[in-house]
């Protein structure tokens, strides 16, 4: 059984067709990269998967480990092991990073039938993961994403991913806004979590990220559907020639 299966997904926003019959299958242990021009529907796809209100499918279906997502709210999907690293992480003034993480982690643990972590155990774990991501303790004390730099926000997304240990992660332009060193740190963080049991979908504009997080498959998303799929070489082709040729050929 595949981990994630998107079948002919169609979605409208304000009467405008955004996803126009998108299909994608992701198996355990795989890394998929999705590239595509601005406005092609990449973030829409990720919101749809995460279960954001207003991003319900008009037709088509999505399965997570064989289970249809259509009836599941965003929080249930997340507890089931779906994770979205936001292209634009949301600021939560007044919500402390540590208590936010703890609430999230314990929600997931409860779902998995694991014991909830008490405050001390949690703080210890969070600090450990944070130090691997070169996230300063001080940042965990601050309100979530408030006043974080662009790069810090992205790092904090991956830190959450590391803490939640999802089955499938969708990383929406996690590389945008990262400097060279941060790109390496974040990529290392992602790679450290790769295993035979989970899968990652990275959405990116830059081939460079794929040197660090090497994908098994690369897909080109254009105008609401996947027009071409291939191996890592496809990303190199995009880097060299842009999307125009690929789109015209499709």
């Amino acid at each position: 059984m595949s981990l994630l299966e998107i079948k002919n997904a169609k979605l409208k926003i304000d009467d405008k067709d955004i996803l126009k019959g998108l299909s994608l299958t992701v198996n355990k242990g795989e890394v998929h990269a999705i590239m595509g021009p601005n406005g092609s529907g990449k973030s829409t796809l990720s919101y749809m998967l995460a279960g954001r209100d207003g991003y319900e499918l008009e037709s088509g279906e999505v399965f997570l480990e064989g289970k249809s997502l259509s009836e599941m709210e965003a929080d249930e999907r997340a507890r089931s092991g779906l994770f979205l690293a936001f292209q634009y992480p949301v600021e939560l003034p007044g919500v402390g990073g540590m208590s936010f993480l703890r609430e999230a982690v314990n929600s997931r643990r409860k779902f998995l039938g694991e014991e909830e972590l008490d405050h001390l155990a949690f703080v210890k774990e969070a600090r450990k993961v944070a130090s691997k991501m070169f996230v300063k303790d001080e940042m965990l004390k601050r309100a979530v994403n408030v006043g974080f730099s662009g790069g810090e926000k992205k790092r904090f997304e991956i830190l959450q991913m590391a803490m939640l240990k999802p089955k499938i992660s969708i990383l929406d332009e996690t590389d945008s806004g990262l400097d060279v060193d941060a790109l390496k740190i974040v990529s290392d963080g992602v790679n450290a979590q790769r295993n035979d049991d989970n899968a990652i979908v990275v959405i990116t504009h830059y081939q460079r990220l794929l040197d660090y997080i090497v994908p098994d498959f690369v897909h080109i998303l254009s105008d609401g559907s996947i027009i071409k799929s291939g191996g890592p070489e496809l990303a190199l082709e995009v880097e060299k020639n842009g999307y125009a040729g690929l789109i015209n050929a499709a």
């Binding site: 995460a50 209100d53 965003a74 929080d75 997340a78 003034p93 007044g94 919500v95 936010f100 309100a143």
Partner: protein, 419 residues
């Protein structure tokens, strides 16, 4: 020791009180003072006193045998206690050196009264009624250069059915002095008409926290007047959560240059409560700053009102006035009104204001849910944060937790009903 204010407005309190027994409150107030607000009056349009006006209410005769009901919430605070509106020396703390409490004599009381009458609180019902009915005006004086670290905890309690309570407090901070004050209103089913006059002399500074937590049958019409001399600093935060009807009205006059005023507040309303935070800030001189952040959370059939007037006089150049209000409605039947009113007559000023009334931000809600947090929990987190944020910004570190817990108690009740 008790003293009654006499003035042209009334002949004597005794006579005054006897009239109460014959007439309804409104009649008395309107006949004698022409001051009972009609619903047509602009500042009372959103907070109508209809039901109250028809009630028969008599000023309370303070019972000096009553013992204190509310315990102190702070270690080491200096307690100043009012029961039934009367200052109770026997239930208050000994004050630290450099500070003193006095009951004003007739002349000083009148002077105090006229400060109110010269302000835009002149027609506030509490101004007229309480100056007549208060057992005494109590004055807290802080001497020059005295900076007190311990909190003054001022507790107002007592009251009873169909009675009105009239505490009056005058706080004067002399040059370079500073204090921290926590006021707690804990009356039982009565009409409370507190008066407060704050005078800050040069470079004086006050941190003030007011918690309105009278019981659910009470009406509280608090009237506060503040005068700020140069370089003074007035930092105030109000938490309104109790009462059937609570309105805290504050008028602040920035009279000296380089002073700084914060009038922040939170109201938490449920059931059929009505909460009103009304402020007026008068920038009369240049180079002062004022800031207001007001937040409300409403459930049930409650209503919330924020009215914020900022007037910048033609001479008050380089004024910086900020005002932000935001209310979150958790129930379809709750109503929040925000009425910012900026009157700016100077040209070189920075004045910003914004008011929003709405639901919980759906982007933030989605972000939390996308991390596996249930909708209910997510809403709870966001509303809590909404309050924590402003509490942390408004009150000093050592009492942030206390204020937050006071808010959370009420908040969790509201949330458990609505979400």
């Amino acid at each position: 020791m008790l003293h009654n204010v006499k003035d042209n407005y009334i002949t004597s309190v005794k006579e005054y009180v006897s009239q109460f027994e014959e007439k309804s409150f409104r009649k008395l107030a309107s006949n004698d003072f022409k001051s009972w607000p009609s619903p047509r009056e602009e500042t009372w349009r959103l907070s109508r006193l209809g039901v109250l006006s028809r009630k028969k209410i008599t000023p309370i005769t303070p019972n000096f045998q009553k013992k204190n009901a509310s315990l102190s919430k702070f270690n080491g605070s200096k307690i100043i206690r009012f029961v039934d509106g009367a200052f109770r020396e026997d239930l208050s703390s000994k004050l630290p050196p450099g500070s003193s409490l006095n009951i004003l004599g007739e002349e000083d009381s009148l002077r105090c009264f006229h400060k109110f009458k010269d302000s835009n609180l002149k027609d506030h019902p509490s101004t007229n009624v309480s100056f007549s009915c208060t057992p005494s005006i109590v004055k807290l004086t802080i001497e020059k250069d005295v900076k007190l670290r311990d909190f003054f905890e001022i507790i107002y309690e007592g009251g009873d059915n169909n009675l009105s309570v009239h505490p009056a407090l005058y706080i004067e901070l002399k040059d370079n002095s500073s204090i921290k004050v926590i006021e707690r209103f804990n009356h039982l089913s009565s009409l409370i008409m507190p008066l407060q006059l704050v005078e800050l002399k040069t470079n004086a500074s006050i941190n003030s926290l007011k918690i309105f937590n009278d019981d659910q049958q009470s009406y509280n019409l608090s009237a506060n007047c503040a005068f700020l001399a140069d370089k003074s600093n007035y930092n105030s935060f109000s938490l309104i959560k109790g009462g059937l009807f609570t309105r805290s009205e504050t008028h602040a006059y920035l009279k000296g240059e380089n002073c700084n005023l914060n009038l922040n507040g939170v109201y938490l309303s449920s059931k059929n409560q009505h909460h009103d935070l009304t402020t007026a800030i008068y920038h009369d001189v240049p180079n002062c700053t004022s800031k207001q952040i007001v937040r409300g959370v409403l459930g049930g059939k409650s209503t919330g009102v924020f009215q914020g007037k900022v007037r910048v006089a033609p001479d008050a150049q380089k004024t910086d006035g900020q005002q932000m209000s935001r209310a979150i409605l958790l129930s379809e039947n709750a109503i929040a009104n925000a009425k910012p009113e900026l009157e700016i007559y100077a040209d070189d000023v920075i004045c910003a204001h914004g008011a929003t009334v709405g639901e919980i931000d759906d982007e933030q809600l989605f972000y939390l849910k996308s991390r596996g947090i249930s909708e209910k929990k997510a809403k709870q987190i966001l509303i809590t944060a909404f309050l924590k944020d402003i509490i942390n910004e408004s009150v000093e570190g050592s009492i942030q937790n206390f204020v937050f817990e006071e808010a959370e108690l009420t908040l969790s009740e509201i949330i458990s009903k609505e979400i």
